[in-house]
Amino acid sequence: MSRVWWILLFLVLVGSVVLELVRPYYLDPQHLWEYPTFYAFYGFVGCAVIVFVSKWIGKYWLQRPVDYYTRHQGPEPVRPAGTEEGENV
């Protein structure tokens, strides 16, 4: 990304955090998510958790080779009229 975008992003990041620290939305926080800048942490940690947990599930449980279903499939079926050989896109 170009330098301009990075500077803009940096301003948004710092700006959104500083703004809430200066002027909190919840004046009397009762829950965890009412503390200032909670959502910044949530975004960062949540994203990392999604990536690691999903990749872990995929690696140890769900991922299979691309031909997993097709390598054992039966002979080519009889095609209904009009669906000729080859893929349309």
Partner: protein, 582 residues
């Protein structure tokens, strides 16, 4: 004021389309959506059209605010999809799409369960064609699985409807208040079309296999019709709250693993429909407003995302992240317009998803379901991560693939349709009251509060930072991820062995036995005396020396003997008969 169901232009269009010159059919496709929009404008709230049929009072048209929201967006989506498909010269797909949209509208405006079921089934068949039309083995097999799963769902629905009719004597489609076997079967039938796990695998299986234009239509109608039926029949069924939250996160996890860009988007349909199902489960006026409002914006931005992914497939013939990258310079307009859809689905301020998600989240918070709201925020993070960051980064930016490109130019109409959808997404984001005004219940809500905007910006900006740090782990991998379709795809091999193969083998065994018997009889006929009485075949000694000659000679001899025996028998019978008494 008209009292005609708005599906009529679509069904009439499907009949008339083949009569139009081939080159004009794509343009003709735009007329039914426009006619339907005009008819919707003329429909009055509360209109009910009843038709007596076989002793039943059928209701092909029931107009209320809930149905109207879906009526508007379905007609708009059909128009945008029609513009996207203007370059298409495929009458089959055009007719299927018209029937599909028409039956979706029919289902929305049905006032009774019988009509609903009929349109439900037409939808299944018409939409399956959009998968089949892709051609090739993958499209054909995917389409077959799609239609079978939907016929199974339709059977659940029909069973539920019949049981419900048998016990209550009513076919009216209103809120189901009691939990019976019948209502649960109906709920399961709806849940299958809403792609609620574990009944969702058809979606991620079929949508990536559909045609470029077909997938745009598929993304809009089936799941949202199901959301409508859930909102109509099952508001406040609390089971739908955890189910909806689970859906929202389920789609996110699978989207991490998806390699195909349209499969990634398909899993995000599951995720986004989770918001709507949660809203229905909350059941309050705010919750139903959230579900319907989100369905409205979802159709606009998800259609836009599928159009962008379809443009990539159209231009390159590829749809896998592991085979894409650095494509942005070939299609700058597609990238820019896709990003509008990505910002919308991620809930950026000033884009449509922001204003509709907020209503569902507000509904959850008003009922003190804070954990629900927090988990839906987590799903939002995942949504931005995939559709807003991972997909565009590894498709249009990021490292170039090993195999170079020669992209086809993208037709102007595809760009125009994307621009239209993007404009509507932006419009609804900036003027949320335009959306709120048509929701089923009055809504006095302002999404643009200091806290809401600030928290959303924090959430999304820091998601980006985490993505940027982890991006090396997020590239597409050439794998598939097992989903619940494993339960019918994996055993299919054994079913094939136990079903068609077993029958084929049995036929083979019987066939061999029959041929063996015939061969035995033939051998017996060649030399019956020798075979029966054990005498060796008599060789006349005349003719050649090969066996066939000698066998045929012996056969002639025994034939002569048999004729003599037969003659003797006949003479004997005649003598006995004539010498008898009388």
């Amino acid at each position: 004021m008209s009292e005609l169901p708005p599906l009529l232009p679509f069904f009439a269009g499907a009949i008339l389309l083949p009569l139009i010159p081939r080159a004009a059919r794509a343009w003709f496709f735009l007329l039914p959506p426009l006619a339907a929009l005009a008819m919707l404008a003329g429909l009055e709230d509360g209109t009910i059209l009843t038709v007596p049929f076989a002793g039943l009072e059928l209701v092909p048209l029931r107009v209320d605010r809930l149905a109207m929201v879906f009526g508007w967006i379905f007609s708009i989506a059909a128009f945008i999809g029609g513009v996207y498909a203007l370059h298409l010269r495929d009458t089959g797909q055009q007719i299927a799409a018209l029937l599909y949209v028409g039956s979706a509208l029919g289902a929305i405006f049905s006032g009774d369960l019988f009509m609903l079921f009929v349109f439900w089934e037409i939808m299944a068949v018409a939409s399956a064609y959009l998968v089949w039309a892709r051609g090739g083995s993958t499209g054909y097999r995917s389409g077959m699985r799609y239609i079978f799963v939907h016929l199974f769902g339709g059977s659940l629905l029909l069973g539920g409807i019949l049981l419900h009719y048998g016990t209550t004597g009513s076919l009216a489609f209103d809120v189901f208040t009691t939990q019976t076997v019948a209502t649960w079967l109906i709920l399961l039938g709806f849940a299958l079309n809403a792609a609620i796990p574990p009944l969702h695998a058809w979606l991620a299986d079929a949508y990536p296999a559909a045609t470029v234009t077909g997938a745009v239509f598929l993304s809009a109608f089936t799941t949202k019709t199901a959301v409508y039926t859930l909102a109509r029949g099952f508001p406040g069924w609390e089971i739908l709250i955890p189910v909806g939250v689970f859906m929202a996160l389920y789609g996110v996890v699978y989207a991490v693993l998806a390699d195909d860009i349209r499969q990634l988007l398909a899993y995000h349909i599951v995720s986004q429909v989770g918001y709507m199902v949660t809203g229905v489960g909350l059941g309050t006026e705010m919750g139903i407003n959230g579900a319907t409002g989100h369905a409205f914006t979802h159709i606009l931005y998800k259609g836009l995302l599928f159009m962008g992914a379809g443009a990539v497939l159209y231009a390159t013939g590829r749809s896998k992240l592991s085979e894409l990258g650095a494509l942005g310079k070939y299609m700058p307009w597609t990238v820019a317009l896709y990003m509008v859809g990505a910002f919308s689905i991620s809930g950026f301020p000033f884009f449509s998803g922001f204003v509709s998600k907020a209503v569902t989240l507000e509904a959850a918070e008003l009922l003190s379901h804070y954990n629900v709201a927090m988990l839906l925020y987590l799903a939002s993070i995942g949504t931005f991560l995939h559709t807003g960051l991972k997909l565009p980064y590894f498709t249009w930016f990021g490292p170039a693939p090993e195999q170079g490109y020669d992209p086809k130019p993208i037709p102007w109409n595809m760009i125009a349709a994307m621009a239209l959808a993007a404009a509507l997404n932006f419009f609804l984001g900036v003027f949320p009251q335009a959306l709120y005004a048509i929701l089923p219940y009055p809504l006095d809500y302002q999404p643009y509060t200091y806290g809401h905007v600030l928290h959303t910006v924090q959430l999304l900006a820091f998601t980006f930072i985490a993505f940027w740090l982890l991006r090396s782990r997020l590239g597409g991998e050439p794998f598939i991820a097992l989903d619940t379709d494993w339960f019918y795809r994996r055993p299919s091999r054994f079913a094939y062995e136990a079903g068609p193969q077993l029958v084929a083998r049995a036929f083979g065994a019987v066939e061999r036995a029959a041929y063996g018997l015939a061969a035995g009889i033939a051998r017996l006929g060649q030399d019956p005396v020798g075979r029966i009485f054990g005498a060796p075949a008599v060789s006349s000694g005349r003719g050649g020396t090969d066996g066939s000659e000698s066998r045929s000679t012996s056969f002639r001899i025994s034939l002569g003997a048999m004729i003599l025996i037969a003659l003797a028998c006949i003479i004997g019978v005649v003598v006995v008969t004539m010498s008898g008494p009388g």
